[in-house]
């Protein structure tokens, strides 16, 4: 559907790329990155609205690097939507379809379909788009983008200004548009929850480069670099040294905390590595229950030093005995209530081998 090869671009002092990326027909790819990572520039280059310094772009196996934007047939929802303020809601929605001179019966059919899908009935007769609510504007912009039947839909942080409840509704709509209408979507966001919810694949972009492309669990549990790990809020990251590497890919690490991990392929004894674990993957050992075999490797005594309460979860900061290491441990409220911990309490925690990720230290700047 879309294939990007060694694409680079400049904007002032910012340098994008080189970027290699492809997205198959019907796919949903989210590009996740902090603000200023160059996500919008990448979209603009692919749309033909900004100039690539080098590299190539294919759309449906046709090279499109030199194609003007109106011939690329990529629909675009910029962050501010850019609904035309001089046109009515209906004229906004029909703008692209009319411009492309689609047959009236095709337009009508699609319009009916989109009216139902995007619940446009109550607003399509409005004479201006300026008085629509935030969520209504999003739906009109989606209809305008989809009506001409684009081969691709680009979304640039579409929901960043919306309240949580409306945001979730529209995210579900997007998922539906992708799955039921079969629209291929490339969606740029800095919102991790959104990226994980919607992306079949997720590409992490930091400082103009793609640092990792993969499925949800790869990105979440196996960051490809320290930069990705930090951006994705891995709270628990330790810097350790490899002591022994086993034949099964497991290894013993020494340093501030002695650990046994798996997945150490390609790492040699003596190397320094970064090791991390998601705060919700840290296991608190309940004194009244038997300890599973998979918990025996990395078992530590610890003390609660801080408690952060959120809506449905609590995060304990625990200090591991005799090590100076502090780890964050996230608990659902039901577990937190059951355990009843307070600052100063002692507890035992375990770090499962399979929950730990390991990276050679030089991978921090790939």
């Amino acid at each position: 559907m879309i294939r990007i090869e060694q694409l680079t671009a400049r904007q002032g002092s910012f340098r994008l790329g080189p970027i290699d990326l492809d997205l198959e027909r019907g796919g949903y790819l989210t590009i996740l990155g902090p603000s200023g990572a160059g996500k919008t520039v990448l979209l603009e280059v692919c749309l033909g609205l900004a100039t690539a310094a080098a590299g190539r772009l294919w759309l449906d196996d046709i090279e499109a690097t030199q194609l003007p934007p109106e011939l690329r047939r990529i629909a675009y929802l910029p962050q501010d939507l850019a609904l035309f303020p001089h046109l009515s809601v209906r004229d906004n929605i029909l703008f692209g379809a009319r411009q492309r001179r689609l047959a009236p019966e095709v337009i009508l059919g699609r319009l009916q379909e989109l009216t139902v899908l995007l619940d446009l009935d109550g607003i399509i007769a409005r004479r201006t788009v300026t008085t629509l609510s935030g969520g209504e504007k999003q739906r009109v912009a989606l209809a305008r983008a989809l009506l001409p039947g684009p081969r691709l839909l680009f979304l640039d942080e579409p929901f960043s200004a919306l309240d949580a409840a409306i945001k979730r509704q529209l995210q579900i709509k997007l998922r539906q548009i992708n799955r039921e209408l079969g629209v291929t979507i490339l969606h740029v966001t800095h919102d991790q929850e959104e990226a994980f919810l919607l992306g079949e694949r997720i590409a992490v972009m930091i400082a103009g480069k793609l640092r990792q492309v993969g499925r949800r669990d790869d990105i979440y549990y196996r960051p490809a670099s320290l930069a990705v790990a930090r951006f994705l809020r891995n709270q628990n990251i330790l810097e350790l040294q490899v002591d022994q590497v086993g034949t099964d890919g497991s290894c013993k690490l020494v340093g501030s905390l002695p650990l046994v991990t798996s997945g150490c392929t390609g790492i040699r004894p003596g190397e320094r590595v970064a090791v991390g674990i998601r705060s919700e993957e840290v296991v608190i050992i309940r004194p009244d229950r038997p300890i599973g075999n998979d918990l025996l490797d990395n078992l530590f005594d610890a003390r609660v030093v801080d408690i952060l309460g959120f809506g449905g979860t609590h995060t304990l900061t625990v200090a591991i005995a005799d090590s100076g290491v502090r780890l964050d441990v996230e608990l659902p409220n039901c577990a937190f209530r059951d355990l009843g911990y307070a600052v100063g309490d002692s507890l035992r925690i375990a770090l499962r081998r399979r929950s730990l990720w390991t990276l050679p230290m030089n991978s921090s700047s790939p």
Partner: protein, 262 residues
């Protein structure tokens, strides 16, 4: 919110503005000493005055249309596209805005005495003491002003609208026609009105190029000058009241064109 302790500061803000307002009121009010409705109506009926009105409004309309017609594409180009030497060109095109119209008028006369100018003259574009000269003088003074006003107008329109239009199938030309131009509509109208007003009030360049031939090239401002040079106060007052009414209409029209914005 206003608090008592801010009173001296508030007065320091109000007094200068009140003084300026009072001064302008004195200026505009003073003519009532000299104004009489009978004289006003009598003057308006004179063919000389009527010729001046027709010439002023007509020539200003032509020169403002010309100026805006050229400035719309030019200002769009300056507002949207990058090209080498753009800053230099931009500064150069501002020159006629800050140069005194007297100098501009003289430059026109001189230009028509160069080979290129004589060629234009031979082609029928004779300026001295002609209506064409009035229009040329006004156009030269207002073209750069129109360009500047319209550049601001186009700069205030987010380029995102055009970009989205292009992803929806518009060429560069059709996105300009179907999106940018309608969005700039009010700004273009306001720029036209202001340009027109400036052309109506133009005196320095017009007087240099076309002179002040009564009933032929005498515009409204020139007619005031002529009336005052012979101390014909009733005529001067009539012309000033006329120009004040036009100015007021222009200000209201601009407010209307720009919507609620000032």
């Amino acid at each position: 919110m206003s608090f008592k302790r801010d009173l001296p500061f508030r007065l320091a803000l109000i007094v200068p503005l009140a003084g300026l307002t009072g001064y302008f009121l004195l200026l505009i009010g003073s003519q009532y000493v000299f104004f009489s409705a009978a004289a006003f109506l009598h003057q308006l009926a004179l063919p000389e005055i009527q010729a001046a009105i027709v010439l002023s409004l007509g020539s200003a309309t032509v020169s403002a249309l010309l100026a805006v017609g050229i400035a719309v594409p030019g200002a769009y180009l300056l507002a949207r596209r990058e090209f080498p030497g753009k800053r230099l060109l931009d500064t150069f095109l501002d020159l006629p805005v800050v140069l005194t119209p007297i100098a501009l008028g003289t430059l026109i006369l001189m230009a028509w005495n160069t080979p290129a100018g004589r060629l234009l003259d031979d082609l029928g574009l004779t300026l001295p003491f002609t209506v064409a000269g009035v229009i040329a003088a006004q156009f030269t003074v207002v073209a750069a002003i129109a360009l500047r006003l319209l550049k601001t107008t186009f700069e205030q329109i987010d380029p995102r609208y055009e970009q989205v239009a292009r992803t929806l199938g518009c060429t560069a030309a059709s996105s300009f026609r179907r999106v940018t131009l309608p969005l700039a509509g009010r700004g273009i109208l306001a720029a036209f009105i202001l340009t027109w007003a400036r052309a109506v009030g133009e005196f320095g360049a017009t007087v240099m190029v076309a002179g002040t031939a009564r009933g032929a090239t005498a515009t409204l401002p020139s007619s005031i000058y002529l009336a005052m040079s012979v101390a014909d106060l009733p005529r001067a007052v009539t012309l000033i009241v006329l120009l004040l009414l036009i100015s007021l209409a222009v200000l209201l029209a601009v407010r209307f064109a720009l919507g609620s914005r000032p």
